[in-house]
Amino acid sequence: MSYIQLDMIDLALAGLLVLANAGLSLWLQLGLERRMLIAAARMVVQLSLVGMVLKALFLAVSPLWTGLAALAMIAFAGHEILARQDRRFGGWWAYGLGTGSMLLAAGLVTIFALTTQLRPDPWYHPQYAIPLLGMVLGNTMTGISLGLQTLTGAVVDQRVAIEARLALGVAAGEAVLPAMRKALKAAAMPIVNAMGTTGLVSLPGMMTGQILGGVDPAQAVKYQILIMFLISGGTAAGAVTAVTLGARRLFDQRQRLRLDRLG
């Protein structure tokens, strides 16, 4: 493998573009210059820190530290799911439902890929485990948050129809099925669309990254296909788990609709 190393001067030169943007903002009185510079500074600091963390993780190759890093990523993603919900479940369910589903789905899919397709030595090697989890997690997070958002919205919208069926003696699981279908469709759409347009409209970041790193494009494409399959599996598993548990939570033991459980 051969790749061109970057030094600080290279980055400083590219950073001039951001300064030019800030200058443009001043000149055109957009009022964006401050936010733009702060965002650029944040990005540099955050990425440098991540780089340091990854470097330390790769040196350690410790199951404990790798696991902790993975849990921290899942915890942040769980927070993001919560932030994207208009209607949240009350109590622990608010955070636990999305995070738990993600832990299960992204964890299983990542471990599946590490132990059967990639097989690094050891199987939890952070150089493979962390990037893989990151990619699966990002998409599973989107799927779960879309699924939950659509589910709670649909059940609130369909309240009268759902209660009409309950009143006639229909089981809760059947009455909520249309809302669940809508939620699962919404969760699956982004990955279905992404798979359909990848390679035509967009060149995926991981693949282009590998090509820049000197990997044979044919190999990079194989990696990308693997990732897309893993993402669709993780998204489906996570969304089905979250939507099913969420739908259950909206009904009680007597199979009554309990919208009061949405905070």
Binding site: V160, A161, R165, L166, A167, V170, A171, Q253, R256
Partner: protein, 199 residues
């Protein structure tokens, strides 16, 4: 007694006591917001509630929620619809054409989209839908509120027939004359308190 309710309570409803015999209709009246709908929904077990409710001597807890509501069916004042056409809301729409025509509804209504029906047509269809399940107790929340006199008469005739078949009916109605025609006893709900009229 077919339906016995003892100390039924929920937020907005003081402990309520009432009973219905087979084939008996009891009318419920009271000002808006007094708790009539809350009472009916609590009996149907559609909202969290407490109290002793039994059907033919069997406690409500011995039924699953859906099994109870199959027997003790609540019909909302504004019924809900979950599919596109009318017939999709029934187990077997063609089998109901006789009852439908008595309510002034043609069999062709089955193919019509629900969205295109009038409020009155929807209300009558919701009653048919409730009767199709052959419940033992019907909890009706203003079933003729949106109906003209002719349609109202059809509904009352159908309810009388159901009573004759042994169905017990708890009827919320603002129409005193209708309540007198159908019901033997009257309950009054005021500020969450349920009491027998004259008691």
């Amino acid at each position: 007694m077919m339906l016995e309710v003892e100390g039924l309570t929920r937020p907005g409803l003081n402990p309520a006591f009432l009973h219905l015999a087979a084939g008996e209709c009891v009318a419920v009246s009271g000002p808006s917001g007094a708790g009539k709908t809350l009472l009916l929904r609590a009996i149907a077990d559609l909202d969290p509630n407490e109290g002793r409710v039994s059907l033919d001597g069997a406690l409500r807890e011995s039924f699953s929620g859906p099994a109870w509501r199959c027997q003790v069916t609540y019909m909302a004042a504004e019924p809900g619809w979950w599919a596109e056409t009318v017939a999709q809301h029934f187990r077997h729409w063609p089998g109901l054409s006789g009852m439908a025509s008595r309510l002034g509804l043609q069999a062709e209504v089955g193919a019509a989209p629900v969205a295109r029906l009038s409020t009155g047509e929807r209300q009558r269809l919701a009653l048919l839908r409730a009767l199709e399940g052959e419940p033992k107790v019907l909890l009706l929340d203003e079933p003729t509120a949106a109906l003209d006199a002719v349609a109202c008469h059809g509904v009352e005739a159908l309810l009388s027939q159901a009573l004759g078949n042994g169905v017990a009916i708890l009827l919320v109605s603002h129409d005193r004359a209708q309540a007198d025609r159908l019901a033997g006893r009257h309950l009054l709900v005021e500020a969450g308190c349920v009491r027998e009229e004259g008691a």
